[in-house]
């Protein structure tokens, strides 16, 4: 029987990506930003597709289908109807969006064919189209470990849908309902993110990290004025306060007067007010998602929930859903944003259009989300020799000994191993790791290595079997999509003076045995590591545990602010030299900064736009 090779593509909005599956098995998936080095790159994923074809030694003519993740004509209909709804207001938005659509996006098929021809001038199958939220739903359900589940997709907006519910059983996915634009939890969160002075589509996770510093004093106001939770489980936004429907901005004066302050300008000082708004926004989102999911659980009566869409990257809300919605287990697509839709579109076509059966894996079929390029020791050594960079190569056991010893002595390590992650989180393949017990690490890493805002927390890597002993959490969290509280026994009592501290001042208080990963509310964005998914990382943590008694390390993405996560040894070396990382470990090859000559390079701030 001939193999069914399906290519999924998502692009032209943000986070473009491509994914390749063979007979339902994921062969590879990667975001274009990793190749182009432009964060959230929306360009057609030429390099991603080129890599997928080369890696799997296939040609475009071998493909059974090429699936785009959205239906562009329905999106255009939504844009036109939105302008009709607000006309004559919204002229500037009309001037910007309509010519672009008429010139380019309505002729997407031609454009995709042209771009594919630029990769390989050959015959290939016709372009097919999956609905945006179906791509999300398929990306959440098919790789999940469930044969039967409820699926919820929550994002900014797809064609019309902003929130959608589905049921999945075996190879089938059935739609239940959608909530349509302009009512959108994703856009609601983005609007307040913009109000707080962060960038839409990239600042949302900063707001989530800021929230624990504040008190949710505006939650009632938000739930009264901005969003209404309707009795049947749906919700609606009060569009008097939001302007994204007809303007090129998210909100205006009415929201400012409701919250009592003008919008914060980017990169200006934050105070308690901004933290309180962030806390209130987070609480409002959690209340809204719980409202939707509890109704959904009662209606579908299923035990399992699959989540996708950009809002599903909010790990604080995900944990609330798992604890309180009535669903017993929750699985979230690690690339929950639009990048993951490339994979979802391909899987949807395979199971729903081709009608092919699905094999459910007990863990999941996402392969640890390690679906991108990898490099051998020889590849690394070749690059280093060509550039006259001194290095040493260690065998596996020596490497683990050496790494643990250096981490214990307070060194910060650039850890580059195996296949690159698919999705926004670094899961231990392209990570910066360090000792979580160090009291100053959070500040040092934020300011001297990541060059980002000092309030932002770091995530822990922990052995899966140790999770229950260290955190109030019993579920696996291999994709860093849940938060858990540090167990009481590992917390440090605060003095009465420390208790009174507010906001960022709390950051400097030692709150647990592992201050670097403990947020001000004692929460941590957990990644559990198992031997099956990540054997080398598992060995490292086990080794560290033998030496120190604990299996917790700090893990943050291997990049600086505004830079996509590193992909190649060259990207990693450049990032290593631009920051105060002490040691770079590329597969089994070790480079110590003290052995290196002075590094002359352009300022990274000129290369990467701040996010």
């Amino acid at each position: 029987m001939k193999d069914e090779l399906i290519l999924g593509i998502s692009c032209y909005y943000h986070d473009s990506a491509a994914a390749l599956i063979r007979n339902g098995e994921i062969l590879g998936a990667v975001q274009e930003e990793r190749f182009s080095r432009k964060k959230h790159d929306s360009a057609f994923p030429v390099e991603s597709i080129r890599w997928l074809l080369k890696e799997n030694q296939i040609s475009l003519r071998d493909l059974t289908a090429i699936v785009y993740y959205e239906k562009p004509f329905i999106t255009f209909e939504r844009i036109l109807e939105t302008h009709l709804n607000y006309a004559p207001m919204g002229f500037s938005s009309f001037l910007k969006s309509v010519p672009l659509w008429i010139k380019e996006k309505l002729f997407l098929e031609k454009d995709i064919i042209k771009k594919l021809k630029s990769i390989e001038d050959t015959q290939f199958p016709a372009i097919t189209w999956s609905e945006h939220h179906l791509s999300h739903a398929a990306g959440a359900f098919y790789p999940s470990p469930f044969s039967d589940a409820t699926i919820l997709c929550v994002d900014g907006v797809g064609e019309w849908a902003t929130t959608s519910a589905w049921t999945g059983s075996g190879k089938e996915i059935h739609p239940l309902w959608e909530i349509h634009f302009p009512h959108s939890l994703g856009l609601f969160y983005s609007a307040i993110t913009a109000y707080l002075g962060f960038k839409v589509n990239s600042g949302e996770y900063k707001v989530m990290g800021l929230a624990p510093y504040g008190n949710p004093v505006y939650t009632d106001l938000m739930l009264k004025e901005l969003i209404t939770l309707l009795p049947d489980g749906s919700y609606s936004l009060n569009m008097d306060y939001f302007e994204y429907g007809h303007k090129m901005k998210m909100s205006g004066e009415k929201l400012e007067s409701l919250l009592g302050r003008p919008m914060r300008k980017p990169e200006t000082l934050m105070d308690q007010f901004h933290m309180d708004v962030a806390a209130s926004l987070q609480k409002t989102l959690e209340a809204s998602l719980l409202h939707v999911t509890t109704h959904l659980q009662k209606k579908t009566k299923k035990k399992n929930l699959c989540l996708s869409g950009g809002v599903a990257l909010n790990c604080v809300a995900n944990s609330k859903i798992l604890k309180e919605s009535g669903f017993e287990t929750v699985w979230i697509q690690p690339a929950a944003g639009d990048a993951g839709s490339a994979l979802g579109a391909a899987l949807a076509y395979y199971h729903l259009h081709s009608g092919k059966e699905r094999i459910v894996s007990a863990d999941d079929s996402q392969k640890g989300s390690l679906l991108g390029p990898s490099f051998t020791n020889d590849d690394v050594a070749l690059y280093l020799k060509e550039n006259k960079i001194p290095f040493k190569k260690l065998e596996d056991t020596d490497l683990l000994d050496y790494t643990c010893k250096e981490i214990e002595s307070g060194k910060i390590i650039g850890w580059f191993q195996g296949r690159m992650e698919y999705g926004p989180r670094a899961l231990g393949s392209r990570s910066i790791i360090a000792d979580a017990r160090s009291p100053d690490l959070q500040k040092t890493m934020n300011l001297k290595i990541k060059f980002r805002e000092s309030f932002r927390p770091f995530a822990p890597l922990v052995l899966e079997e140790d999770t229950e002993n260290l955190f109030n959490w019993k579920h696996p969290s291999p994709y860093m999509l849940f938060v858990a509280d540090v167990k009481d026994s590992h917390r440090k009592a605060m003095t009465s003076t420390e208790e009174k501290l507010f906001g960022i001042d709390k950051l400097n208080v030692i709150r647990s045995t592992w201050p670097a990963i403990t947020h001000v509310d004692y929460s941590a964005r957990l990644q559990t590591v198992s031997a099956g998914r990540q054997p080398k990382l598992y060995s490292l943590l086990s080794h560290f545990k033998k030496r120190t008694g604990h299996s917790i390390l700090v893990n943050t993405s291997f990049n600086v602010r505004g830079e996509p996560i590193v992909m190649t040894p060259e990207d990693a070396y450049r990032c290593f030299r631009r920051t105060e990382i002490d040691i770079l470990i590329l597969e089994n090859i070790v480079i110590e900064k003290k052995d290196l000559p002075e590094f002359k390079d352009s300022d990274w701030r000129e290369v990467f736009e701040l996010d």
């Binding site: 699936v67 785009y68 239906k71 562009p72 004509f73 329905i74 209909e77 109807e81 302008h83 009709l84 709804n85 607000y86 006309a87 004559p88 002229f91 009309f94 001037l95 309509v98 010519p99 997407l108 098929e109 016709a126 097919t128 189209w129 999956s130 609905e131 179906l134 019309w160 959608s164 996915i173 739609p175 239940l176 309902w177 959608e178 909530i179 349509h180 634009f181 302009p182 009512h183 309707l230 009795p231 049947d232 489980g233 749906s234 919700y235 609606s236 949807a348 076509y349 729903l352 259009h353």
Partner: protein
Amino acid sequence: MSWTEFKNKHLFSVNLAIVAGFLLWQVRKDFLFHPIIIGWLILTFFSAKAREKEKAVMLFVGKVNGMIILSVFYFLIFSPFSVFYRLFFRHGSFRKSASTFEIKDSISPFDRPF
């Protein structure tokens, strides 16, 4: 010079000179300014900067024209039609209601972009 080179480098300038010459003759019924057009055309054959400048100016003129046409369309056709849209065809999600659920019972086929 090959046809491809001529097409890529100079056809735009030649076309523009013909149109400009024709329009000027239509307006003035004389050839007073035509030597300037010919002079500019000759310059574009020798100067890449002149060709770039010409294209940038025409792009700007095109954008202004496009804006005028779109503005006329928006305010004279689109906006009046929007009144009918709001009265008779308005999408459910723009109306106030007790529920924002849109029941969905099928999936759009993969072979069409709508």
